[in-house]
């Protein structure tokens, strides 16, 4: 019976049944089998309402969608061009930095390639960056910034893994910055090899761009600085940001009209709702699995073959790449509760685990054939997928190198955290 049900659910999953329904069905079946009242599934779901940090999800998502609708991406890009455009590979670096920032602020929901990619692609081509490089760069930037506050996947990881979201943000800082530096280095080499002209720096242009974005410049400082500096918790930062963004974009810049608000609320809350319903139904299931000591059983079986932490991490990385190609939010919700106890047996810190997990997500986004970024680029730039696979490959390799570094050098993630705690 259990086998038949599992097979049926698997078929339904591949036919496109919603993840929440699959989780719900499995939870209801397992609780029924254990002679526990089905209300237990709902008691687990109600735990959602006792998580203090949960409200950060709707608030950050909402502010991100407001920002994406406004002229903020345009203003931010103009400012970045004025500030960094003169450097070798300047425009590519501008793209990396602004996309990372934008992805972090919009909850990594795929808006970056749509909103910023469309602006950056013609600019890069106009400055004579090679087409393949430009496409690859923009395809990978769609998920760059996952490690910076206030990215939604990090918040979700913190909630599911029951570790401090603020600590995760601190731990992600060095790996995140290193990744951008690595990609910037590649951009500089490409720009130098293609013999691109450098634009001169203009103080007047920088000032004008800064003045245009005057109300938005405090935002990253306030949120990122506030969280790293320990002034705010992520939840407070979310409340401040939602209010600030709404006032600034509606009353100061007037980019967002009251008539746009219903559409923004709808599309942002659809994302929030689809995350929360999976989270709610999966809580019952994962709790059942933990009560049934499934992670311990997996570890017992695994430890017969895998003795070293190094090999375990390698297997984990490969597994996560495959899982994350499917759907990243569901991947976090379902996989994290099972993997954390197993990783702990191998002596891996849950915060370090989080950074590995999220970097894996970033790579999953751009891994052929199913990575979401590749599809977004395919649609946005109207380029065939095989061409994008080739274009994104060098960036994919750079990401994997970074992943190896983060995985096997825990201090990279944990050093800043220890510094903060001491």
């Amino acid at each position: 019976m259990t086998f038949a049900l599992a097979a049926a659910l698997l078929v339904l999953a591949f036919l496109g049944a919603p993840v929440f329904a699959l989780m719900g069905a499995l939870a209801l079946y397992l609780f029924h089998g254990a002679a526990i009242d089905s209300a237990a599934v709902i008691i687990e779901l109600m735990r959602l309402a006792s998580l203090p940090a949960l409200i950060a999800i709707p608030l950050f998502t909402f502010s991100g969608f407001v920002l994406a609708e406004s002229g903020a991406p345009r203003r931010m890009l103009a400012l970045a061009v004025a500030l960094f455009g003169w450097m070798p590979g300047g425009l590519a670096i501008v793209g990396l930095v602004s996309c990372a920032l934008f992805t972090a602020f919009t909850g990594a929901s795929g808006v970056t390639i749509i909103a910023l990619g469309g602006l950056l692609y013609p600019m890069l081509l106009k400055e004579k960056y090679p087409e393949g490089f430009s496409l690859g760069l923009l395809t990978c930037t769609g998920s760059l910034g996952l490690l910076f506050p206030p990215s939604l996947p990090i918040i979700l990881y913190g909630l599911v893994a029951k570790v401090s979201i603020d600590d995760l943000f601190v731990a992600g800082a060095i790996p995140g910055v290193l990744l951008i530096l690595l990609l910037s280095g590649i951009s500089m080499v490409v720009a130098w090899r293609s013999g691109l002209r450098r634009a001169p720096f203009s103080g007047a242009a920088a000032l004008a761009a800064a003045r245009a974005a005057a109300w938005e410049i405090p935002l990253p400082v306030l949120i990122v600085g506030g969280i790293y500096g320990g002034v705010f918790t992520a939840t407070d930062a979310a409340a401040v940001m939602a209010f600030y963004v709404l006032v600034v974009e509606m009353a100061v810049y007037r980019d967002v009209k009251p008539a746009d608000l219903p559409r923004i609320v709808r599309s942002s809350m659809i994302l929030v709702g689809s995350i929360l319903i999976v989270l709610g139904t999966a809580l019952g299931l994962t709790n059942y699995l933990i009560d049934a000591e499934v992670p311990e059983k997996i570890f017992a079986a695994l430890s017969l073959y895998v003795h070293s932490k190094t090999v375990f991490l390698l297997i984990l990385n490969i597994l996560l790449l495959v899982v994350n190609m499917v759907e990243i939010f569901s991947a976090i919700i379902i996989v994290v509760p099972i993997i954390i106890p197993i990783a702990a047996q191998y002596g891996i810190d849950p915060i370090h685990m989080g950074i590995i997990f999220l970097l894996n997500l970033e790579i999953g986004y751009m891994t052929p054939p199913l990575g979401l970024n590749l599809f977004l680029s395919n649609r946005r730039f109207d380029q065939p997928l095989p061409k994008l696979y080739r274009a994104a490959f060098p960036f994919w390799v750079a990401h994997v190198l970074m992943l190896a570094l983060v995985t096997y050098w825990p201090q990279l993630s944990l050093w800043l955290l220890h510094l903060k705690d001491s």
Binding site: L48, P52, L54, G273, L276, E327
Partner: protein
């Protein structure tokens, strides 16, 4: 079939209107809490509990709209490759399965809700006034009922599409405008 589509639209506009009101309250109240805490070392005692319940409401209404717009998380790669009647039949199977799961989740929520209602637990107090928890928990059966309704409507539309062969092409928008 026009009636079914009209019911779906009506349902969605109701959900949307309610959602907007809740989001406005959520943004304003959560900001007020931060201001009160930071500058006045105070804060509404019931505020955080109320906000946490609000997130549940927002989540269910968002999930209902996600169901209506086919934006629930799923592996839809295969579905995108299918066309015509095959697609309609697969959609019918998937929507019926989802509706059935929602039905059992409604039963589970209802049993949970009755337990809560009878025990008469308090969610928070405003001054001397005690606010019971059960009105906030109505969203559980209600939310799953909204999901059920959307999936039943979708299943009916899929039957119609399978019979007539008039199948909508899959939406390619991401994220939706």
């Amino acid at each position: 079939m026009k009636t079914i589509a009209a019911i779906e639209r009506l349902l969605m506009s109701g959900e949307r209107a309610f959602l907007i009101a809740l989001v406005v309250v959520m943004v304003a109240l959560s900001f007020l809490q931060v201001v009160l805490r930071s500058f006045f070392s105070a804060g509404l005692l019931w505020g955080d509990t109320f906000l946490r319940s609000l997130v549940l409401w927002v989540g269910f209404l968002g999930a209902a709209l996600a169901a209506a717009e086919d934006r629930q998380f799923s592996m839809d790669a295969l579905l995108r490759l299918l066309n015509g009647r095959t697609r309609a039949v697969v959609e019918l199977v998937v929507h019926s399965f989802t509706a059935a799961v929602c039905w059992f989740l409604i039963l589970a929520s209802w049993s949970f809700f009755l337990g809560e209602f009878e025990s008469g637990g308090t969610l928070f107090s405003i001054g001397a006034h005690e606010v019971p928890a059960w009105p906030f928990e109505t969203i559980l059966p209600l939310g799953f009922a909204l999901l059920l309704l959307h999936y039943v409507l979708k299943a009916v539309l899929a039957v119609h599409a399978a019979v007539t062969g008039a199948v909508k092409p899959p939406s390619t928008e991401y994220p939706a405008p």
